[in-house]
Symmetry: C2
Subunit: 431 residues, 2 copies
Amino acid sequence: MDRVLSSELISHVGERVCVAGWLHHQRQLAKVSFLLVRDRVGIAQVVAINNDVRAAVSELVAETVVEVTGDVIASDQAPSGVEIVDPEVTVLSSSGDVPPFELRRPKLSAQLPTLLDHAAVALRHPLRRATAGLAAALVGGFRNTLDGLGFTEIHTPKVVASATESGANVFPIDWFGDRAFLAQSPQFYKQIMVGVFEHVYEVGPVFRAEPHDTARHLAQYLSLDAETGFIGDHTDVMAILREVLAGMTANIIEQAGQDLDLLALELPNVPTEIPAIDFVEAQHLIEADTGESVVGETDLAPSHERWLGEWARRNHGSEFVFVVGYPMVKRPFYTHPDPTRPEASKSFDLLFRGLELVTGGQRLHRYDDYLAALDGQDLTPFEGYLEAFRHGMPPHGGFAIGLERWIARLTQARKIREVTLFPRDLHRLTP
Amino acid sequence: MDRVLSSELISHVGERVCVAGWLHHQRQLAKVSFLLVRDRVGIAQVVAINNDVRAAVSELVAETVVEVTGDVIASDQAPSGVEIVDPEVTVLSSSGDVPPFELRRPKLSAQLPTLLDHAAVALRHPLRRATAGLAAALVGGFRNTLDGLGFTEIHTPKVVASATESGANVFPIDWFGDRAFLAQSPQFYKQIMVGVFEHVYEVGPVFRAEPHDTARHLAQYLSLDAETGFIGDHTDVMAILREVLAGMTANIIEQAGQDLDLLALELPNVPTEIPAIDFVEAQHLIEADTGESVVGETDLAPSHERWLGEWARRNHGSEFVFVVGYPMVKRPFYTHPDPTRPEASKSFDLLFRGLELVTGGQRLHRYDDYLAALDGQDLTPFEGYLEAFRHGMPPHGGFAIGLERWIARLTQARKIREVTLFPRDLHRLTP
């Protein structure tokens, strides 16, 4: 008999079916036993009154994998409106031990380190599974949107010969006896590939040796990178990013609506035009409102990002806000300056609910501009990168979205590690 | 004026349009100049007779990025049936130097190391770009097919605390002063996640410190991994793999038909039922045919794989063939034995044109079986993995496809590095 998923039972009332999954919970009353069988989409309620069946089932610990054949009936008492009666229960795979947490509880109450240590079990909790389902839908939406815009997917090296991009916070690797590093981003490669495909994206891991034990950093995270050529300026990049964000949230509804319901989340509305504010103008507003002396600083403090998040919500009804024109001194060397005021850049941050979610902008595209930007540095490690610009590159720009950070903000998790399957950080390399 | 792609010109005959791209080539005749402008989908032919335009253009070196506005006319002489006349040419970005190769040639004649050293330019050649387009279509087809079968995408750590899976050929990393390793595969993680989503896949880089300088190995490659729960046995995994292969080739036609034409490739037919042969039976056939003594060996030599490829083509009209029942001694510890003959496994290799392309099979799913398989080993590094089996795992299995290897076989490249954007191997860490 073919297996039916728990969510499909409602259309099998009156039939004998087979479900399979993990024994989520069981309750033994005087004359009846209730079993909850969890599969990848939900939970099936099974009611047993036969004493042999009840005795056999009472021996099973939670998380035993079972197959249940029984009759589907409508039931007002069952949470999903149906239940399975007259069951035959077969053990597919026994669970040796009582699990470290009760997965049947609405929320796992253990401390985060304990949950992470026991990820193999904790991730089975419906809320943790739903969060991972959101992640898959977001990534799918990122790709679908860019595919529709004529982008091509690429995959680039995660091991590089030199820490050229920032120089700091890299992980050294022993590469056949030579020293190499884990890539901090696909930046150089996606720019090179604009010379081939004009519009490219990559979904892949990036590595930052963050020595800080913060709530918002991971040492490995999933970077959703896009880069696009033949642009006018950074505002074209911002327009594409807006499409991507809208496509990602739309794909949650399309592909993970049930996860959204389970998590009781409200998705943000991505406005047709995301409000944008100039960095210096933002500083003036913050200074005027808070009395803090911020004009002239070269970066925004987290409290200032939060202030701007509130400002955008209040004045534009938007949970997203672009901050444009960041000072060049705080941006990487490939950032394109604003010709009308060279100390400012054609780059942006996108804040979501008061936290930086995306960084992007227009890049330099002329070879001579790169030579000037790298003046005084040894150019040898940049050779393969600079060759692209030596042989004609169109005006281009791009952005990178940190997936886990976005999920953390969407789900209002306090720590990014809460929403990461198997996080890696200063203190964690397992499981 | 909005930009039109070279492939769209045919539907703009009689209009004045704007194209943009790289100056692929130019020919100056006595009274007329021909320019070829390459964009991401093809090449536009531009004909100039105005002497000022001709003089200005003659200064431009190949790979200069230009924007051309002109009138589209039908032309029997133009390769695509249309050309642009009366052009105005604007330089978007100049090329400083003559490129290291003539991209206009039908094939790049430089040696592979030279092409790889200058990847930023070499990848712009239409044939190299088309190969990378095939790769994107294959990866898209892998995901689409599995999405349609109810699989969920995951992303797992690429840095692990211990070299538990094979112990050999790992790259050590300095992880905040501790020793860690680059992951050789997502095997343990995808199995753990079967406990959450039942059916999962991952597209991501894997790392093998292959000390050999061979034509078919890379130190980083893209692994297309799938793992599926609630199976009967390995043949269910093989059936899913068959769907995936068919979906991948179908997506090339859907998404990269033009690349296929450019490369003049014929796609393999994925038969409804891919022929399968038992390992020992295969050895008997090979021994009978070649006279070599192979029965009793625990692995197939490359020449034997080629023999089987020929056998499948001759007897089944198939370029694919499964070899099932590999000896347990040659398979990893998590491989499920065949209960009817415990020295053989429920695992398979898929050969494509006589070369191993995919490895997969059913895995152990009972905790006690893992304890037996790991008998004598320190279990500490396996803790997070074994916890999944301690708490109920369904019968499951999966497979991994090496993307670059498949592309190399599809395009009949002699070396896998020829079809990899930025290969990493024993001797190569740049660009």
